[in-house]
């Protein structure tokens, strides 16, 4: 199994990120850096009401302002609804600009394009909107109460503010609980969380003389943007070219068509001039997408010896005013509720609820951080009640390679037990837990995550992942892919995979990524931790085709016996058993081109998971131990050390995985301890990083990590995901450690000093 590990010394090599020199020297171009001749600056007018009818919009004064070149309102657009769930058109509930009604503070109403950003801003202040306010609901409880206003009353199929539900029924839950010796039922509340990506969204659109649009946009999913932009503009997809420049983080927040992308394209078509929108941090925090807040209820039964019997899980997602990626989060929350342990019987009810809050969307973990915060907390609570160590209880029930959730998924590789054993031994878990000094705590949280999804909600007709490889006579290759590096490092890892397989140096691979007019159609982009596995497989598919052609050239040239295998390494193509029968990669390409009378050597590679269940082709696993100190008087929690052991299959680039892990811990600490939206009547109050408190470098604990050795046969060179899953365990691990230190068990994230002190009666 480890035979191909380390292939050409590139698989498992800590190659520094190829994009980092440009980024750290400020040379990388983000969408907001690009300037085109005659470019206009766009700004969007947003609703100041949480729920209101639009009676009238007067744009006359804005239009009359010198320097303003265009002002649009909803009625000027083709009024075509959009949403990522094309498979169920009824879930597509957003218009490019609001027409009759606004549904949250921040709902986009009008857009202005002017010769400079300040004029555009001034023009916004000249637009007069007359509203008729409607009653608004912000909590799940209020949205579901009798007589609550229907936020999407235009959708006659909806009888309440539940926009979508999801059921999973594996086995007979009632009789299962009768066989349990110990049952616990808990209610948890988890809060929304901002992506807080470094680069606020930006888009620049230009239109050619034939009306074709090119947009440079900060996105994770150029293909999705291309399709939805074309449909909302009412033009063919091929008339829209989406280009992804450097992107400063996405975390799920940039995987939909967004209003400014539409407005930039639409106004550039109207004015004939390029139009650029650059959002401010304030706009991002005020009304940007966020992780779903949820109300969760979970009932779980065990035998006396700790064996799991059944789980009944219910999730209400506060979706905000539109579906966004909420339906996927509703599905995945249910799928992740069934993960990590062998629940013989499992029921799930998930409800996506509209409220008059900014819409929640996809965010790193996509339903899993919430589902696993409650399930991991319950494991820790159950362990205490059952008198079994929390790690032993997990090992007893842990999923292992070959486990199945009937009709849903098969676990093709799992290093979960090994991860648990590793963190237990490395942290001296049992001794430490027994001898905790005052105010110190140690706790555990675990995770599993998907390596890309199977469920085709976007209803793409094309392969899930695709690439093109071109081989050249100068010994180089060109990789074209729609998989996007948004900071996670795929530009490096994908080149590494191709270089390893073709036996070339990484710098001999040119990469073109995220340009819908150049790269093969259909790759769904970067989300769901799908890129390494899915695009990696597509690359190996293409690479194999190139290699077959070049092997023929060596075989012919040296009259190789048919039993010889041909190898690729050090920029050469040669008979494996006798390297002197070989030539350089470039020479082999030259021969092929001559043999094919001048044709270019190009191969397409694709990957679509088929017959891999309903969820994903491969799961990652891991366990994390947090050690904390809690100040007993101020309630301030200091995370001192985080130890992780995880299974992501073969590691392609250890440095990249380390970066993902550290970023995930930073995000996890913020989610658990400091980040929280302060909301009042639907309005976000903390719209700067002064008050939306993302942990700084100085808040980071000591980080130790161990990689558990597994090989995933579905992944390229045995690899699986290492992106999102790592964001899951930190919250339950810290929460458990805080409990060990203080006796306060958090069932209502985030953990704040105030909540800890209140639980102790100190305030």
């Amino acid at each position: 199994m480890s035979a191909i590990k380390g292939k050409n010394n590139l698989i498992g090599a800590s190659i520094p990120r190829i994009d980092s020199p440009a980024k750290v020297t400020g040379k990388a171009l983000y969408a907001g850096d690009i300037i085109l001749p005659g470019m206009l600056h766009g700004k969007i007018l947003k609703s100041t009401k949480a729920h209101a009818k639009i009676l009238n919009i007067d744009i006359s004064r804005a239009l009359a302002l010198p320097g303003v070149k265009d002002v649009i309102v909803g009625k000027d657009t083709p009024c075509i609804k959009f949403g990522n769930w094309r498979l169920f058109p009824n879930t597509q509930d957003e218009l490019p600009l609001a027409v009759d009604k606004v549904r949250y503070i921040g709902d986009e109403i009008a857009a202005v394009a002017a010769i400079d950003p300040d004029i555009a801003e001034e023009a916004l202040s000249l637009i007069k909107v007359e509203y008729e306010e409607l009653p608004a609901v912000f909590s799940i409880e209020d949205a579901l109460a009798a007589g609550a206003p229907l936020i999407h009353d235009e959708n006659k199929e909806l009888k309440s503010n539940i926009s979508l539900d999801r059921k999973i029924d594996v086995g007979d839950i009632e009789s299962a609980f009768k066989t349990a010796d110990y049952i616990r039922e808990d209610t948890f509340v988890v809060h929304p969380h901002s992506h807080a990506y470094m680069e606020p969204c930006a888009t620049l659109a230009e239109t050619d003389s034939e009306g074709r649009v090119t947009i440079y946009t900060s996105t994770q999913t150029p293909y999705i943007v291309q399709c939805l932009l074309a449909s909302t503009l009412g033009i063919p997809e091929n008339h829209v070219r989406v280009m992804k420049p450097a992107v400063g983080g996405g975390f799920g927040g940039k995987m939909e068509l967004r209003k400014w992308e539409f407005c930039a394209a639409f106004m550039s078509r109207r004015t004939g001039r390029p139009v650029r929108f650059v959002l401010s941090r304030q706009e991002e925090l005020e009304s940007g997408r966020r992780r779903h807040g949820m109300n969760l209820k979970s009932k779980v039964g065990f035998k006396k010896d700790g064996t799991l019997v059944a789980k009944d899980f219910e999730a209400y997602l506060n979706g905000g005013a539109y579906n966004s990626m909420g339906p996927t989060a509703t599905f995945l929350c249910g799928n992740f509720g069934a993960m990590l342990y062998r629940y013989p019987i499992y029921h799930y009810r998930g409800y996506h609820v509209y409220t008059n809050l900014p819409p929640a969307g996809a965010m790193r973990g996509f339903g899993a951080p919430q589902a696993m915060f409650i399930s991991e907390s319950q494991m820790n609570m159950a362990a205490i009640d059952l008198g079994i160590d929390a790690i032993d209880l997990r090992i007893k029930n842990a999923m292992v390679t070959g486990d199945k959730i009937e009709g849903v998924t098969t676990i093709s590789s799992a290093g979960f037990v090994e991860s648990l054993e590793k963190v237990a031994s490395e942290t001296k878990w049992k001794e430490k837990k027994k001898n905790l000094p005052k105010n110190k705590g140690i706790g555990i949280g675990c995770y599993s995550f998907i390596s890309g999804g199977v469920f085709n909600w976007f209803n793409t007709q094309y392969n899930f992942s695709a690439c093109e490889v071109r081989a050249y006579d100068d010994g180089t290759a060109h990789l074209l892919t729609m998989s996007c590096d948004i900071g996670q490092g795929s530009d490096t890892v994908l080149r590494q995979i191709l270089a390893a397989d073709l036996g070339l140096a990484v710098n001999m691979i040119r990469l073109t990524a995220g340009d819908t007019a150049m790269t093969p159609k259909g790759d769904l982009g970067t989300w769901g931790s799908r890129v390494t596995l899915m695009n990696g497989n597509a690359i190996l598919d293409a690479s194999k085709k190139i290699k077959e052609q070049l092997a023929k050239m060596v075989s012919i040239k040296f009259n190789l016996n048919v039993i010889h295998d041909v190898a690729f390494g050090d920029g050469k193509v040669f008979a494996k058993a006798n390297p002197k029968y070989g030539m350089t990669f470039g020479e082999a390409v030259t021969l092929w081109v001559k043999a094919n009378r001048g044709e270019e050597l190009i191969a397409r590679g694709v990957y679509t998971p088929r017959d891999k269940g309903l969820t994903t082709p491969a799961y990652s696993f891991g366990a994390q131990v947090a050690e904390v100190d809690v100040d007993p008087d101020t309630g301030v929690v200091t995370v001192e050390k985080i130890t992780t052991a995880h299974d992501c299959g073969t590691v392609i680039n250890p440095l990249g995985v380390e970066g993902q892990l550290e970023g995930a811990i930073q995000m996890g600490i913020g989610y658990t301890l400091s980040e929280q939206f302060a909301m009042k009547n639907g309005k976000t109050l903390n719209t700067t990083f002064l008050d939306y408190k993302v942990p700084s470098a100085e808040d980071m604990p000591q980080i130790v990590s161990y990689k558990v050795d597994t090989y995933e046969k579905e992944g390229p060179f045995g690899a699986k995901e290492a992106g999102e899953g790592l964001a899951i365990p930190t919250a339950p691990a810290i929460s458990d450690a805080v409990f060990q230190a203080t006796g306060y068990r958090c069932k209502d994230l985030p953990i704040t000093p105030e909540k800890i002190l209140r639980s102790k009666g100190k305030i």
Binding site: D633, E698, K762
Partner: protein, 294 residues
């Protein structure tokens, strides 16, 4: 939004700055480091037509010991200079600590101590240390000078006694007596790089017999302006420090605080923290004072 157009004036002396200020009045703003002013201009909460930059005035970037035992700090002295200054660290450790946790490295390298105070934020890190050290604010105007004790300098959030035709010329801080200890305490959500949720400074000077000859307690971010807790200072003075005495003082501080509930913390939490931090600041001050005395 970009900063609106303005005219930048570069006076060569403080006097010249005052003349410019007098002629442009409320249409002008004084700029030292600019770390507060430029943000306000960007947000357009302040839209001066003229910015009078002190950067071009020579010899006002100083932290120096004056004969007679006062530390003088000039209007262009950066926060980072306060952090690095050995005299400040030796004689005014609470100020040294507060300056070191003000905002971020980048802001400390540009922002000035006097600017931080003139901004008059109730949560300014450096206000309470300056209060416990009995800092005098020297204010100049075209026709003279006046000296204001720092606790009288603040009027409310963003408001000070400074009038339009006036500038802060310098801070004068008397060097404390030998057997003095002082300390700064702060609680905020993030461990570092954060605005103070609550901050407390304390100072104790001990007599030879170990009794308290002088006590100072100042609170930040728990009232419309930084406040001194004179009532608590009084009960400490003349007494031998004990745990109970400090507890009593801390309780008084808690009562004197009048915080609001906002998105950063609830009033109850802030009040509770005033007590905790006051106790801690007094404990640390006593330890330092005792060490110096012996």
């Amino acid at each position: 939004m970009s900063i609106p157009k303005f005219t930048y004036l570069a006076p060569k002396t403080l006097k010249e700055a005052l003349i410019m200020r007098a002629s442009h009045g409320s249409k002008s703003s004084i700029m030292a480091g600019g770390t507060d002013l430029l943000i306000k201009m960007g947000l357009r909460t302040l839209q001066p037509e003229f910015v009078i930059g002190l950067n071009s005035v020579p010899e006002i970037d100083y932290i120096t010991l004056r004969p007679g035992g006062e530390l003088a700090i000039g209007p262009m002295a950066k926060l980072s200079a306060v952090v690095e200054d050995a005299e400040v660290e030796k004689n005014f450790p609470a100020l040294s600590e507060a300056a070191s946790v003000t905002a971020t490295v980048q802001i400390r390298n540009m922002g000035t101590l006097i600017g931080n105070i003139c901004n008059a934020s109730p949560s300014a890190d450096n206000a309470t240390p300056l209060m416990i050290y009995d800092t005098k604010v020297v204010i100049i105007r075209s026709d003279g000078e006046r000296v204001v004790p720092i606790e009288e300098f603040f009027k409310g959030p963003g408001k000070s006694v400074l009038e339009t035709g006036e500038l802060v010329k310098e801070f004068l801080i008397p060097i404390p007596e030998k057997s003095t200890g002082s300390n700064y305490q702060k609680v905020s959500t993030r461990s570092k790089v954060d605005i103070a949720g609550i901050c407390v400074s304390a100072l104790l000077t001990l007599n030879n017999d170990g009794t308290v000859s002088k006590a100072r307690i100042a609170l930040g971010a728990v009232a419309p302006k930084p406040i001194r807790v004179v009532k608590a200072e009084k009960i400490l003075t003349g007494k031998t420090p004990t745990k109970e005495l400090f507890n009593d003082a801390a309780k008084i501080a808690r009562e004197e605080a009048s915080p609001i509930s906002d998105m950063r913390a609830s009033a109850e939490y802030r009040k509770a923290m005033v007590e905790v931090l006051t106790r801690r600041a007094l404990d640390a001050s006593l330890a330092a004072a005792t060490k110096k005395k012996n």
